[in-house]
Every structure is written in structure tokens, then in C-alpha cells.
Amino acid sequence: MQYEGQVRIPSGCAISGMFLRDGRKVNGEPIIRSIATMHDRSNGLGGGFAAYGIYPKQKDLYAFHVFYNSERAKDECERMIRANFDISIAERIPTRRIPQITDEPLIWRYFGLPFRKLLEDRRLDEREFVARFVMKVNTEVRGAYVFSSGKNMGVFKAVGFPEDVGRFYRLDEYEGYGWTAHGRYPTNTPGWWGGAHPFALLDYSVVHNGEISSYDTNRRFIGMYGYSCTLLTDTEVITYILDYLHRRNRLSLKETADVIAAPFWSEIAAMPEDRRRYYTYLRNVFPSLLITGPFSILVGFSGGMMALNDRLKLRSMVVGEKGSAVYVASEECAIRAVEPELDRLWSPRGGEPVIVTLNKGVRA
């Protein structure tokens, strides 16, 4: 049988996210409760979480979470890490042995910064250096897979139901201001843990529900810019598109959303002149980054979260607000499970991004 990465596996899914604009931190328990409510939307073949603000003591260091299939892979990868990064902590990620989660790989994390000298020699900014490093490990080191690489954030994922994955990783022991969660319903067994979501690069993490029909167009385009899709999943390609547009091309998140879920030409034709020019320009310049087919995604990043639906809204997604807390989920029940009394609940239109960030002055 082929592992994920050798074969493309479509998935259905549940997603949930919560974000506290006032910077308050909560542990992983509420997000587990939320995603567990949508148990039937996943089939036990993948679950995961992204958490922001969880490593305050190492907040200025990159936190790499890595799966290893073997000691050999670990040795090889660690050699590469130590050759490029000044590592202050290297440790196993703490887990809780539970019967629902089996066949775990070696799961390690490292905190560190790239050597200054290397950055200067290669004339790369720090984030570009780290992104390239992650891409290199994931394509070149067999049996090693970096699944989280941001600062003061972390991804935790596994094959299993999301609520079990959350318990396995002891998420009740972490506190963050932003959480996203994913329950996966792949149509084929992924074979290994790397295929679970969220998918992350630097501090961007994506959880996604849907199957995008533009996949190969997007993949082949983004492949030109050094992003090689090793997992063949939609989520991976979406993450790279976000990185390419938002970080490399410096588009704002709203502008990024306007590229990947662009309005229809018929809508653009009815807009005032300046809007029409703007959208026509973006569609003309980035036609191969338009994403078609159903998707609802939650993008986590340092200090914020974005929710976005495909332009036809072919996947359900609702947003709820209570005070400074914002909740997004595939189903309303997943929000009510953690916050029964909401100030506001709405269903964003297709292609309309909902972007929330920490309030002014709040430091993560």
C-alpha cells in the first residue's frame, strides 16, 4: 500500500477554532470539547491541533516539532538541525499513553535560532532560511518530517480521532490565546502521521475541510517557487500559497483571500471602477492561485486567525462571538459546546474572509 505523499487522498473533515482577542490564554480542553462534538465528521484516520502562545518562555525561538520513523532518521535530521541552528532545548514531546492512539513515531521538539553567520553568508532573512530548511528536511531526509516550525506556537497531530489526539498530546497542559483543530475523514488510509492536519510552515498553520479541484494547477504553479508538495494534500498546497502570497509577496491577508477566493467576473463587472481594477489585476496576475472546489479553512498565524470559505461556499462554516472570544467551526454545535451563549453568530459568505487579531497593545 502507498503512504500519503505517494498517493493523493481526498478527505472530508471537521474544523474548529477559537481566538481570544484580549490575549487571555486557555488550555486545550475547550477546543478538544468543540471538535469532539463533530466526532462523526471524522473517521479516526487523522486529528490535530495548532496552538498559539503556548511557548512563552521560548517565544523568540523557532519550535520544531518532528516525527521520526527511525533512530537513523533522527540522527540524520538532528545533524542537519545542529549544523544550522543554535539549539537550546531538544526533547521528546510529552505524550500520554492511551489505547486509542497506536503506532506512534518518535516525536521530538527543538527550540533554537539559525546561526547568524549562516544567514549572513546566504543573505537570507531568517524566515526564508527556516522555510527552506524545513522544505529540505521534508524532501531529503527519509523518515523525518518537520510538522511545526513557528515561534511560540505548535502543531500536534496524529492518526486517530481528534479528541483522542488532544488527550494523547496532553493539550490540557498547554495554554494559548488561539487554537485550531481538525478531524479528518480521508477516503484512504494515510499510512503515517504526517498526513494529519493542521499543516504548518513557519507560524502559518492551516486546517481545512474540502477537496480542491484546482489542486494540480496550484501545485504546479507554486512548485516553481521552491515549494515542493511532499504530501499531495490540499492543505499543504494551501499553506504554501498563503506563505507565497502573504510572506513572500507581502500581500495582506485580505488581499491573499482576494486571490485564492477571488470574486466572479460577473461580480467584478458590477463593482465601482477602483475595485474593478483591483480585482481584475489580482485575477490577471495570480490566475494559477485561484482555488476552486469546496473548502473552508482556518489559518492560524502569530497574533491572529483567518477563516475563509470557497467562493461558492460549498462547505459549511459559521462564526460566533462572545466578548473578545471568536469561534469558528464547521457546525454551530461545535461552538455552542464551548460557549452556549453567544453575542453574535453568523455564516460568512463565500470568499469573504473573517480575520481576527489580538487587540491593539496586547502582546502574545
Binding site: S213, D216, S266, G293, P294, L312
Partner: protein
């Protein structure tokens, strides 16, 4: 029967019970196949002149005529077919090159028919184009490699290199005034305008009556430079440098002096009766760096307001050539496959030179991506696009749009008799004889072209919707939507697709 008698390929079968000797067939046939015998009061036929254009069959009021393959045969021989033998006889008689028209008719593989499209089931909904927007609009041209912002931080939208906007990813390919008639050009120009796409002047210049269709015209600059002047370059929406043509890669063209009359002479800017000979190469382009100079000369002449297309025939090394062109300043590359049509070409060249467009297109698209320059240019594929499924497959392989030539002529009435070189087109398309030209009614021809492309557009939308794709741009290069059937590993690798069942 002379000793040079060549057995006619086709036989005219006339049903005597139906024929009323109205002589319509006689009047319609410019090849003078039919004649009336006043002695018997019956129609006769000289089949040696018949090209099987079906004009008489289509117009016979009593449906008394049919043209059938002649059963007469030389002794059957798998190596020496009737055709092979007949060609030897013709060349032994004349000492000349064999000439043919339209595309390569030989049974080479048709890769379009060995690729199948995908559709959504369960995991992803198909989209109904009757209920939801389904976008076929696209832009051709170089894309900027970075975003610029104005002083207020807004994205600047005025820094875009010139683009061609297509409402549907189908353009009419180059066919010159001279090779085809005034009326045929008028049909193409008017249809292009109505459809929101473009037609292409070919190498014959632009007739003064058609300057008004300039916004939907691609003006061609070929090796003979016929009809090229500043006003001509400025009239079009884009300029195409024709390096090669799929039907006859590596050779030039020859429009006989007999056809250089009246408006054609004026439009081509050459004296009446002189042969219009296009050299095989451009004599100012002997290498890729020369091409760059011509590209920029044309851009200078038109103040960088028009995209420049470079059209090449699909030949063995097409990917490397395209890669060179993509760095030459060209905005668009048009690749013409070995099955593309022509008004006249040496038969041996037409039938034996060049490679299939499907393989060429896939190789070029892959190469440009490997070299990270796919965004420098758009790709137009042409040379054998027969229907909307071919269009969808071409785009999924990596084309931005397609050129259609033969299909457009068929819509105008062409019956693919492949004898355009005689200038006696009974359908008024590939001829300059006024009595024949007037048979092509520009109003009806325009309407038929619009019908054809509109019908294809509907079919493209249905196929896209089935795949869950609602913008043609999300189909471009989307090779996962294709699967091969009956292809070997090497073919699949070149096409960059999987086999059905994988």
C-alpha cells in the same frame, strides 16, 4: 486512356432515376467534373478531376449524387499502396514536388483520444453551469513577478505588461488574405469581435476594410514581411512573429503570382502578378538573440502597448526552443502541431515533419515550469483541435488557450478535400475567384463561427463543472484531471499524466 492515367480516388455515383439534368452540379463545380450531354440529355462526369469537396452532393436538389471511394485497385500490396504507386506515377510524369493542403491525414497517434477527463463523485460536488457562474475568461501575456504599491500602500494596477483578454480560450489561427478569401476573413473578424476573442491575419497583411476589427485582430509578421507597415502593426491587438507552421516546419511559403491580383496585391504591398515568396527562415533571425531584437523592434514600434506572440512549429527540440523564446521578451508562445492545416505544402513535409501538439505542449509547459519561467509567457496550442474536449485537454496539459484553424474553416463550409492549393475552392473559402468567393455569405459564415465557438464554450463549461472547477484558470496545467488510456510509460511521462486506474 493515356499511359499516364491515374486511377481517380473517388467515383461520382449519379442515380439516373433521381437526376433531372438541372445542371446545378455542373455550375457548382469549379473543377469541371460534371457536364451536360445535349445529345442524350444526360449529365456526365469526369472523375479524374473530382476532389471530393461534396459541393455538388450538398446542392443537388434531388439528392441524386454521392461520391464514393473508387473500388478500382492495383494489385493489393501492403507495402505499395495505391496511393504510393499513384504518387510515383505522378512524379515520374511531372518531375515535381507533390503538393497538398490542410493537415496531415496519415494515421499517426491522436493523443487527445488517449486521454480521459475526470469528474467529481461524492468527495467534491460537481458544479452546474446553469445555476452557478462558470468562468471561461482568461488573459494572455507576461505576468509581473512582484507586486508594487503606491504611496498609500495600495496595490498598483498600472504596471501590467500588455495582455489579451479572451472571453473564451479559443482564438482563430493565422490564415492569410490570399490563402483564404475576403469573405472568409470578414467572417473570422466579425465572429472574433462577437465572441470576445481574436483572429489572425496570417502573412497577407490586413485589408483596409478590416482595420475596424483591429481590437480583435492579431497581425502577423512572417519571413516575407508582406503587408507590414506601422499602421498595420498599430491596428492589431497583438503582433505575432511567425517562425514556423506545423504543416510545414522549416520551409517558407509561396503564393503564386496568379493570385496576386487587385486587393491582394495592394494588401501585401507587392506588384500584381509577382509571386509572393516567404523565405524559409526570417533572414534577420538566424539565432535566438536575433529573435529578441525583432521582438523588441516590434515593441518599440508599438510603444510596448501590444503583446508579442512568437509562433513556432512543434519540432523535436521544441521545449528548449520555447525556453529560449520565453526569455526573448515575447509575451506569448504559440505552438503549432504537426497536424495543423495549410493552404499549400509539399506533401512529404506535411506528412513527415514535426511532432504531435499534445507531446510538444506537455513538454514545453513542463520545461518552462522547471526553469521557473512559465509566468513569463502564455501558451497557445494549435494544430488539430477538433472539438471542445480537445480544448479542455489542451488546457489541462498546460495551454492558456488554443488556436483553431481547420475547425473554423469547416464551420464555414470547408469539406476538407485538401486541394486549397488549386485555388478552386467550391465553398468560396480558399479561392480568389469572385464567382466562388461570393458563395460564402459573410452574414451566415459569421453566424456559423459564433455558433461553433458558443457550442464549444457550453460544452467546456459542462466538463469543467463536472470536474468541480468553475474557472478555466483553475484547469490550466491541472494534469491530475487527465488520465491516459493505452499509452506506454514513456508517453505518460512526457504528457505528465497517470494512466487510467492509477
Amino acid at each position: 486512356m493515356g499511359i499516364n492515367y491515374n486511377v481517380p480516388e473517388y467515383e461520382v455515383v449519379r442515380d439516373p432515376q433521381r437526376c433531372i439534368a438541372c445542371r446545378v452540379c455542373e455550375r457548382q463545380c469549379a473543377n469541371e467534373v460534371h457536364s451536360y450531354d445535349p445529345k442524350t440529355g444526360k449529365m456526365k462526369s469526369d472523375e479524374s478531376k473530382c476532389v471530393n469537396c461534396h459541393r455538388c452532393v450538398a446542392l443537388c436538389p434531388t439528392h441524386a449524387l454521392k461520391i464514393v471511394k473508387n473500388n478500382d485497385t492495383y494489385r493489393i500490396n501492403a507495402q505499395w499502396s495505391n496511393e504510393a504507386i499513384g504518387e510515383i506515377y505522378r512524379q515520374a510524369e511531372t518531375g515535381g514536388m507533390l503538393l497538398s493542403s490542410m493537415g496531415n491525414p496519415k494515421p499517426y497517434p491522436i493523443y487527445w483520444d488517449k486521454m480521459l477527463l475526470n469528474a467529481s463523485q461524492v468527495t467534491n460536488p460537481s458544479i452546474d453551469p446553469l445555476r452557478e457562474p462558470m468562468e471561461t475568461k482568461t488573459f494572455l501575456g507576461k505576468k509581473p513577478d512582484h507586486i508594487e504599491r503606491d504611496s498609500e500602500g495600495h496595490i498598483r494596477t498600472d504596471n501590467l505588461p500588455p495582455q489579451l483578454k479572451l472571453e473564451v480560450p479559443i482564438l482563430f489561427s493565422a490564415m492569410s488574405y490570399g490563402a483564404i478569401s475576403y469573405n472568409a476573413h470578414e467572417c473570422l473578424a466579425r465572429a472574433a469581435r462577437a465572441l470576445g476573442t481574436y483572429y489572425n491575419t496570417g502573412e497577407g497583411g490586413l485589408h483596409e476594410d478590416f482595420y475596424k476589427y483591429g481590437p480583435n485582430t492579431i497581425v502577423q509578421v512572417a519571413s516575407g514581411r508582406f503587408g507590414v507597415h506601422k499602421g498595420y502593426l498599430e491596428a492589431g491587438a497583438a503582433i505575432e512573429i511567425k517562425i514556423g507552421q506545423g504543416a510545414k516546419p522549416g520551409i517558407g511559403g509561396h503564393l503564386p503570382g496568379a493570385k496576386i491580383v487587385g486587393d491582394i496585391s495592394r494588401t501585401r504591398m507587392i506588384p500584381e502578378g509577382s509571386d509572393a515568396i516567404s523565405p524559409a527562415p526570417h533572414h534577420d533571425i538566424y539565432s535566438i538573440e536575433d529573435l529578441r531584437q525583432l521582438v523588441y523592434s516590434l515593441k518599440e514600434a508599438t510603444e510596448y502597448k501590444k503583446p508579442v506572440i512568437v509562433k513556432i512549429a512543434a519540432v523535436h527540440n521544441v521545449a528548449a526552443i520555447a525556453s529560449g523564446i520565453a526569455r526573448s521578451g515575447a509575451d506569448i508562445i504559440a505552438i503549432d502541431g504537426f497536424r495543423s492545416g495549410t493552404g499549400a505544402a509539399p506533401t512529404r513535409i506535411r506528412d513527415n515533419v514535426g511532432i504531435p501538439i499534445e507531446l510538444a505542449l506537455a513538454a514545453v509547459d513542463s520545461r518552462l515550469r522547471q526553469e521557473k519561467i512559465r509566468n513569463n509567457v502564455s501558451l497557445i496550442a494549435g494544430g488539430s483541435i477538433r472539438n471542445s474536449a480537445d480544448v479542455v485537454k489542451a488546457i489541462a496539459l498546460g495551454a492558456d488557450a488554443v488556436y483553431i484553424g481547420t475547425a473554423a474553416l469547416l464551420a464555414l463550409g470547408c469539406h476538407l478535400c485538401r486541394t486549397c492549393q488549386t485555388g478552386k475552392c467550391n465553398w468560396g473559402i480558399a479561392t480568389q475567384r469572385p464567382d466562388l468567393v461570393k458563395r460564402l455569405n459573410p452574414d451566415i459564415g459569421t453566424k456559423r463561427l459564433i455558433n461553433l465557438v458558443s457550442a464549444w464554450k457550453h460544452e467546456i463549461m459542462e466538463m469543467m463543472g463536472g470536474m468541480g472547477i468553475n474557472s478555466i484558470e483553475a484547469l490550466r496545467g491541472n494534469r491530475l484531471m487527465l488520465r491516459g488510456v493505452g499509452l506506454n510509460d514513456r508517453e505518460l511521462k512526457i504528457l505528465g499524466i497517470k494512466h487510467a486506474g492509477e
